[in-house]
């Protein structure tokens, strides 16, 4: 029970810290900032756990539970940070209700919201790619998280082009 309550308390503190910091100033790299908040809150608790001689197994259990739920939050947050084309479409149809939308209206809506340009802008803003004389090229080395995901994806086979 103590593990459960401790982890819940840590998660609540982390989310509250995020809300406060986001209200003060929205970070440029939100996912990175979020990971730092979760790590700092856990680090501070860890110092306390060592000072108060908490059992190692309990610390590990809290760490595993906290890390897994934190990652869930960070993953879900990426859908909050950037618009998903599918969810934007559902939102549009939800607003239109019984009137619905024609194919042309949907196409116009998606043209106004160029997800391709928005995604390229995010990649450039994250420092993963850069604009070089009108062409997007890699900026520095391959990103490790992207390499891991693409490497794991090879377990299934090649990634088809386009959508």
């Amino acid at each position: 029970m103590q593990i459960f309550l401790t982890t819940c308390a840590l998660l609540v503190v982390s989310v509250l810290a995020q809300i406060v910091l986001w209200k003060i100033r929205l970070p440029d790299q939100q996912i990175k900032a979020l990971l730092v908040i979760f790590a700092v809150v856990f680090g501070m608790w860890l110092v306390g756990a060592i000072v108060f001689s908490m059992a190692l197994l309990e610390v590990l259990h809290v760490g595993l539970f906290y890390m897994s739920v934190s990652l869930c939050y960070v993953i879900t947050y990426s859908a909050i940070e950037a618009d998903s084309p599918t969810l934007s479409l559902i939102h549009l149809l939800g607003e239109k209700r019984a009137q619905g939308c024609s194919g042309e209206e949907i196409a116009r809506f998606l043209t106004r919201h160029s997800f391709v340009r928005a995604r390229l802008a995010v990649l450039a803003h994250s420092g993963l790619i850069r604009d070089q004389n009108g062409r997007y090229v890699m900026a520095g080395k391959h990103s490790l998280p992207f390499r891991v995901i693409l490497g794991f994806r090879k377990v299934y086979g090649s990634i088809p082009k386009g959508g």
Partner: protein
């Protein structure tokens, strides 16, 4: 001590079962039925978790604590790890950003916005997305017009947009 240590690794063992079943299932079907392989992996990993927890509870003297640990900590940890794993493999399947990055990484001369827009033809993506949503029943098509079908995604949209409003002060990245 041994019980506590075993209990710590239970969600990790269940996740390993989940991953193994998902990968083997997907490969056996030669890259088809991705979502089915995810569900099968999740289900069998969950069964594995319950079996291990049941064995630990039977072997343990302090059963009350073990049941509380299983229900309050290990089960949510397994659910959270499974969600992370699903998101991880799903990224490789559908993430436009990841595919674009992969595309740019594979061309030393780089890619222009126009080339990328041709590659990721928004109207083709729209058609594909609409077809997928109609098949799943989330969108209904009637006389050339599209309507909300099942309301489950609309609930997700309301939650995401409310969170956007609270955290970012806007409802869309295009505002």
């Amino acid at each position: 001590m041994v019980h506590a240590m075993s209990s710590l690794f239970t969600p990790i063992a269940a996740l390993a079962i989940n991953m193994a079943v998902q990968i083997v299932g997907f490969r056996l079907r030669r890259g088809c039925h991705f979502f089915r392989s995810v569900v099968e992996g999740f289900f069998l990993g969950g069964v594995g978790l319950l079996i291990i927890e049941a064995l630990l509870i039977i072997a343990d003297q302090t059963r009350g604590d073990s049941v509380a640990m299983a229900l309050l900590v290990n089960l949510p940890t397994y659910l959270a790890l499974s969600y992370c794993y699903y998101s991880f493999v799903q990224l490789g399947q559908t993430s436009i950003r990841l595919r674009m990055y992969s595309e740019i990484a594979s061309r030393a001369s780089g890619v222009t916005i126009e080339e990328m827009e041709r590659e990721y033809d928004e109207s083709a993506l729209t058609d594909m997305r609409l077809r997928r949503l109609i098949e799943s029943g989330d969108i209904l098509e009637k006389d050339g017009r599209y309507f909300i079908g099942r309301r489950r995604l609309l609930v997700v949209v309301h939650i995401i947009f409310a969170a956007k409003h609270i955290l970012l002060g806007k409802k869309s990245e295009f505002e």
